[in-house]
């Protein structure tokens, strides 16, 4: 709130006529917009302002947080016991699955000709609480209570236990803004798990649907197909579940199929999410994460995802000295030909 104080100190009397002052502030606003939109020079200013805004955001969300706390502390013993039993069952289930996973990962590594199984692509993760959520048809954002002080960076993947949530756009010292995959300005490169067909899932502006606007009318996709992240685009690693196709409409008149999918993550009911760090030299890591990450300026993946397939092979081969020598070949092998997204089905059939 220091900004208010310094600004409001001047306008009484001597600051010139209202017209002059308005011109001054209008020019200032336009310059600010230009620098923020085009040049991205204002990261430092945003960082400071985000720090100033965080107490207000916390205060605004405190009634909801207090209500949640009261609800939790008034839970009955029975409810807790029931939940405990359920969690124990779930844990046993997951442990069994994890056992199988170890074996499969090892087997997979052997099949790929590696001496030992690869470590998981997620290097570490950090649970974060959702401070506030903005869910309307124009903006689907949330604010997390972790920031640069915890090592969070811009363009970091955010997941929950079911699937992708979104990515960070602005990171303050103690908080981070997240754009959800359902925001109309967000696009995530995906792959249809059944067929391997790559495409892009764009947010539709409500928490329960994504649109797949770039699929041709004859694309092999049907309701119930699982969409996983394709690893292109530089933010999300390969193979994480994103959404399930709910509706496919093919119109003889229109060249493109109209496809809707429902995100798997519980975007509207989560209260805690995961910020994830990925191993850069892992075959399933986000493609071109070292290079494309720098170009992903405002976290607007819509601007990024389309050229990504063409650009991906070049940075993987040349300017990645930190990658270990055996890593790039499997990356290329796993991702098969770096074809353009729309052309993928045709090329997949011909050979």
């Amino acid at each position: 709130m220091a900004a208010f104080g310094t600004g409001a100190g001047r306008p009484s009397g001597r600051g010139g006529s209202p017209g002059f002052r308005f011109t001054l502030f209008a020019v200032l606003s336009v310059i600010t917009m230009y620098l923020d939109q085009r040049q991205h020079y204002l990261e430092q200013v945003r960082y400071v302002l985000q720090a100033a805004a965080y107490p207000i955001q916390l205060a605004v969300s405190s009634p909801a947080a207090a209500w949640r706390w009261v609800k939790e502390s008034l839970q009955s013993r029975q409810a807790l016991e029931a939940e405990n039993a359920r969690l124990r069952n779930l844990q046993r289930d997951l442990e069994l699955r994890a056992m199988r996973y170890e074996a499969l990962a090892h087997e997979n590594g052997e099949l790929r000709g590696l001496r030992e199984a690869l470590p998981p692509v997620a290097e570490r993760w950090l649970p974060a609480e959702i401070v506030s959520v903005q869910m309307n048809s124009l903006r689907q954002r949330m604010l997390l209570n972790r920031g640069a002080a915890n090592g969070v960076f811009k363009g970091q993947a955010v997941l929950d236990d079911r699937g992708l949530i979104g990515q960070t756009t602005h990171v303050g010292p103690w908080s981070a803004d997240v754009i959800l995959i359902t925001d109309p300005e967000h696009a995530v490169p995906v792959r249809i798990e059944r067929t391997g067909l790559r495409t892009i899932a764009v947010g539709a502006g409500d928490a329960s649907s994504l649109a797949l606007p770039y699929l041709p009318g004859n694309a092999d996709i049907k309701s119930g197909d699982l969409l996983v992240s394709s690893g292109l685009g530089g933010v999300f690693p390969e193979g994480y579940p994103v959404a399930r196709v709910t509706e496919v409409r093919r119109d003889a008149v229109q060249p493109l199929a109209q496809v809707r999918a429902a995100p798997l993550a519980h975007l509207d009911t989560d209260s805690e999410v995961m910020l994830v760090w990925f191993r850069a030299d892992h075959p399933a890591a986000p493609a071109g994460s070292t290079d494309a990450g720098g170009q992903l300026k405002s976290g607007n993946a819509a601007m990024q995802s389309q050229p990504a397939p063409k650009r991906a092979p070049a940075p993987a081969a040349a300017p990645t000295p930190p990658a270990t020598p055996p890593a790039p070949p499997p990356a290329a092998a796993a991702d098969t030909p770096p074809a353009a997204t729309e052309a993928a089905p045709a090329q997949g059939v011909q050979p």
């Binding site: 208010f4 605004v60 909801a64 506030s132």
Partner: protein, 157 residues
């Protein structure tokens, strides 16, 4: 008096900002008036030397942090609205509250138009007609908000 009224101004602006960003269920969110714009309008009209354009600019900048796609959007819109209110403050101030509401409506619409235009220029096309509802509810709540603001400004006892 000057320091006191400035403190009151910042306090009302802060409360309005909180009301503006308070999470609400979607149907209420559509109806929510732009409290911060109303507050800036009130101060620009009733204390054009204390509040005014600088208040509009910095309040808008805070709003940009909370909900703006680009820094400076709300700042520009709010300083424009504040400038008009400061210029016309004598004409607006002399009217009864309900007539003031009729003058506040075009100011709020202008505010939304500026936001709309900047949204378009910066590549955030927004086509839902619901965004214009804010202007209407803002004008409707003005007869209620003005006395509350006057009370917090210490002009009514």
């Amino acid at each position: 008096m000057n320091v006191d009224s400035r403190a009151r101004m910042l306090l009302t602006a802060l409360v309005a900002l909180i009301l503006n960003v308070l999470p609400l269920p979607p149907w209420l969110d559509v109806l929510r008036p732009e409290f911060l714009v109303l507050t800036v309008l009130y101060w620009s009209v009733n204390a054009p030397r204390t509040g005014g354009i600088a208040l509009g600019f910095f309040a808008g900048l805070m709003l940009d942090i909370f909900q703006g796609p680009v820094l400076g959007q709300h700042a520009l819109a709010l300083s424009l609205v504040a400038y008009i209110a400061v210029r016309e403050h004598q004409r607006i101030r002399s009217k009864p509250v309900f007539q003031q509401a009729l003058l506040v409506l075009p100011a709020l619409i202008l505010y939304e138009v500026v936001l709309f235009a900047i949204d378009g220029w910066t590549g955030h096309p927004v086509t839902t007609p619901l965004r214009w509802v804010h202007a209407l509810t803002g004008a409707l709540i003005w007869p209620l908000a003005a006395p509350v603001l006057a009370y917090s400004a210490g002009r009514l006892t």
